[in-house]
Symmetry: D2
Subunit: 297 residues, 4 copies
């Protein structure tokens, strides 16, 4: 079992840290909000009074933060946390951030002899709680192998995408594709309904045909077709439109940098932004189905 | 075993008719091109000298034709084939045509007391040959049940989508969604590759994540990732860009009629049309991957 | 001065017919709704009890109808009005319809020795009332020359676009481009406003720069920037979203037929359809500005 | 007449500096490439051996640089040129950069008591040479008034868009709208041509109708319609696709930051990126017309 310093225990980081405790690791947590640390401490973690205290002597440093600038600020520019981390530690940043931020962290850490991985997750709050997250990891292969057992304490799938930043890129590509087939699914279902089809019948046909995709299979956006998904619960819970917009923004930025054409991703971004501006930002991203509905009285 | 009159034995209809013969049915075929009839006759079908002769006394009339106007012309306006069909026959039109054409056929047939089904297929020439087509059927449920055993002689999945025209609508929705996730998959893969990822590694990650879809799973558009798909064979064979364009055209027309918004489908149509105009019309539709590639010298 | 049979005196046709009367022509009108004929008759036209009576002996037959099928039904299939029209008449159809419908009318008329023009208009109800319409005309040049003086009684610009159907195509192209730069203008203005610019200042800058376009110059979609436009009157009046959708539908159909890629037009169609479904169908098309506004509370 | 330190005398900056000399100003220039300074010195400017020497004691500092990071590096982080600039100088940065970069420069300068303006230009190399540029300026109004006479030595239109960064935002909005109506114009022309219209006739009709826009009026993308434009000279010269891509990238980034929906701009970006990747990066941006052409043999 390992010693772990864990920074950032919000919606995602909290249950992840708790799962590490349950897996038998010795976890010391820090968060700007002491309140967020309480459930993790109740589960058996130690509370640190500062990030420096959390990481002191830890074999692994795990962080789960809201944005790339915050990650860079914590480790490099502001708090300079790297200075407090041992050369034998492995830093695993699970935040979803721009690949550039991940590469900057890796470069700054390397200069101090510290190894890092970017390990963004897929699976949402439910996956974090259930310990079924997918980790998409960028960094050196031996570091990836070293991190694997720890990550499997918080998830069930662990992928090595490539070098530093590759975890972020792979996650970005995946989520862009997710947005595209979610919208595509919503518009196909609405086209069918507008032409007299039953959305459940159409869903079943497409599921067994070439239209099949993850959105249709596990996350049907049409209310009432699947029981337990957000679409059947007023689009509450799930993966927020605002978060999808954040990930699509990272995808667009990556494409701007590499001069890649992403017409479907760009269109998805426009529609999700407008959907968010229309008041749907905090609802599940499958609520894009409502964009297609006829509202006219 | 049933008697079947089969009209239109081209790339798709030919192997379908042969499979009916092999399933033990008594098949009489007709095609404008006698040459196309030869392999079907060689397989054991009888050759008819006219459509009227093919359908005379048949329990089932099956047609596989290139377009809606041709279907209407055969049955209603031009050849008036309905006049030669017995009231006890069941007409199964397997052509992919506009829902309106299907409804027109159903209406004209009903006036003569003849039952019809629209039963467009999914699965392509390979599926037609292997007898693994999917039939998406519109029409009355008892007629669907009556047709089911016959259709299962040519395919392995048979769906009832709803009333007359519903088979066409469901196929159109499915193929629009297919186009969307194929292009989405191609652009996600290219974005990854442009940012240093290996397309196979990225494909595997997305396959086990929320980006998963039929294109990624069975038809990877990036050359070399999957062995037997068109992408690894110079985009030969498969489902032609021109045919995808035809289906997307039907989707747009359906959306125009029902005043449905189909932004992703509309964009897919624009990209496929341009791709076809650029010389890719007769290649497989996964060749849209080339649209994203950097050609600049 | 000429004798004119005028069919269809609704919002557009009514004021057009009145202007013909005022220009000194002898006009006989017909409409399915006697009520619509009243103001035209009050202006000096004669009322006909049937389309046949309206066109009998007229030098010009002018029609202004809501759709292509209705035009074909009147002249060719249903009312067979062509049979009542003299070979020396010139038929000028001002309806906005598919080019195919225009060509069908021209072909059917030619078989009876009757000359036709397709002459869709631009300028809306206000232009019809003020006699400032633009006529975009397809047909033979001598017929165009013959019609010109009559058309100038209802408008101020008359263009010869080419052969039969060319008037419709040119109008379709124009209106597709109009939709594109209207939406482009709205989104540029909102992007500026979201980033702190004053919409009027930004409008003035773009008007004198390369962003200049008709929408920005004469029809600013941002409320309050221009005084007399629909944007400053709650988007009342003007050119309805539903009508723009009709024209964009004709553009898409034309593109489907010629296998032309129209990505901007396709996207415009999707946005306008969704805007219409959201309850804006009867408002002016510059109300697309509201699509971009932040509604979130 | 004023003393001016001018940094960056490439394609744009060179002729701009020469025009300042011709207007009677005392100009001291600096560029990393001594070769680029030669024609400006030949025109009467003094050569500086360093940026510091160029700006020493100058009433105005004008810079024309390729990107925002380079601007920040020159003035703030790397060369720290601000430290060499007098508090009585007015810094006018004419580079097209992200609004954030402009604001950063303004903030850093203000801390040293130095006033700045962002003043990106429109009009291209031809406009720089002819002295007919348009300056779109952000910053304080009195500074704008102070700069105006100097700017009119290099251009003929000067607009005050708002506070620091507003010049960049306004230029970005304008160029995004330009891209949209250029592509819209190209696709409308091709749709017309594909349906039998003459591109010149169609252009003339749309010019006098609601499709009118700057691209159609001054920069027709269809070869042969206008004599002196890039379209009639193999798309050589003009405003490069790569530069349009840079500006569209700035627009997308601005939209990402303000969470504005820019569907038309996003689509334009995708098409221009792909066009550039296809080998058109160094051709004029009106070459997007070729994207629509039928290449198929």
């Amino acid at each position: 079992m390992a010693t772990v310093g864990f920074i950032g225990v919000g919606n995602m980081g909290g249950p992840m840290a708790i799962n590490l405790v349950r897996a038998g690791h010795q976890v010391k947590v820090y968060d700007l909000s002491p309140q967020l640390m309480e459930p993790v401490v109740a589960a058996g973690a130690a509370a640190a009074a500062s990030p420096e205290e959390a990481v002191a002597g830890a074999e692994f440093v795990v962080s789960m933060l809201p944005s790339g600038p915050i990650v860079e600020d914590l480790y490099i520019h502001g708090a300079r946390l790297l200075e407090a981390i041992s050369k034998t530690s492995l830093v695993i940043d699970c935040s979803t951030i721009a690949p550039d931020n991940a590469v900057n962290l890796a470069t700054a850490a390397r200069q101090r002899g510290i190894a890092t991985l970017d390990a963004p997750v897929s699976g949402g709050v439910a996956g974090a709680q259930a310990g079924t997250l997918t980790f998409i990891v960028g960094g050196a292969l031996p570091d990836f192998e070293r991190a694997r057992p720890l990550l499997l304490g918080m998830g069930k799938n662990v992928f090595h995408a490539g070098d530093h930043g590759a975890g972020q890129i792979a996650k970005i590509c995946n989520n862009m594709l997710l947005a595209v087939h979610m919208i595509g699914t919503a518009e196909a279902l609405q086209l069918g309904v507008d032409n007299g089809l039953d959305p459940e019948v159409l869903s079943n046909i497409m599921l067994q045909s070439s239209g099949r995709n993850w959105s249709l299979e596990l996350y049907n956006p049409y209310p009432g077709v699947m029981e337990s998904v957000p679409a059947s619960k007023g689009y509450e819970g799930g993966f927020q439109v605002n978060l999808m917009n954040k990930d699509l923004g990272l995808a667009l930025e990556a494409g701007l940098k590499s001069q890649s054409a992403t017409p479907m991703g760009n269109l998805a971004k426009s529609l999700y932004v407008q959907h968010g501006r229309n008041g749907w930002g905090k609802k599940d991203f499958s609520s894009i189905q409502k964009w297609f509905e006829k509202q006219e009285k």
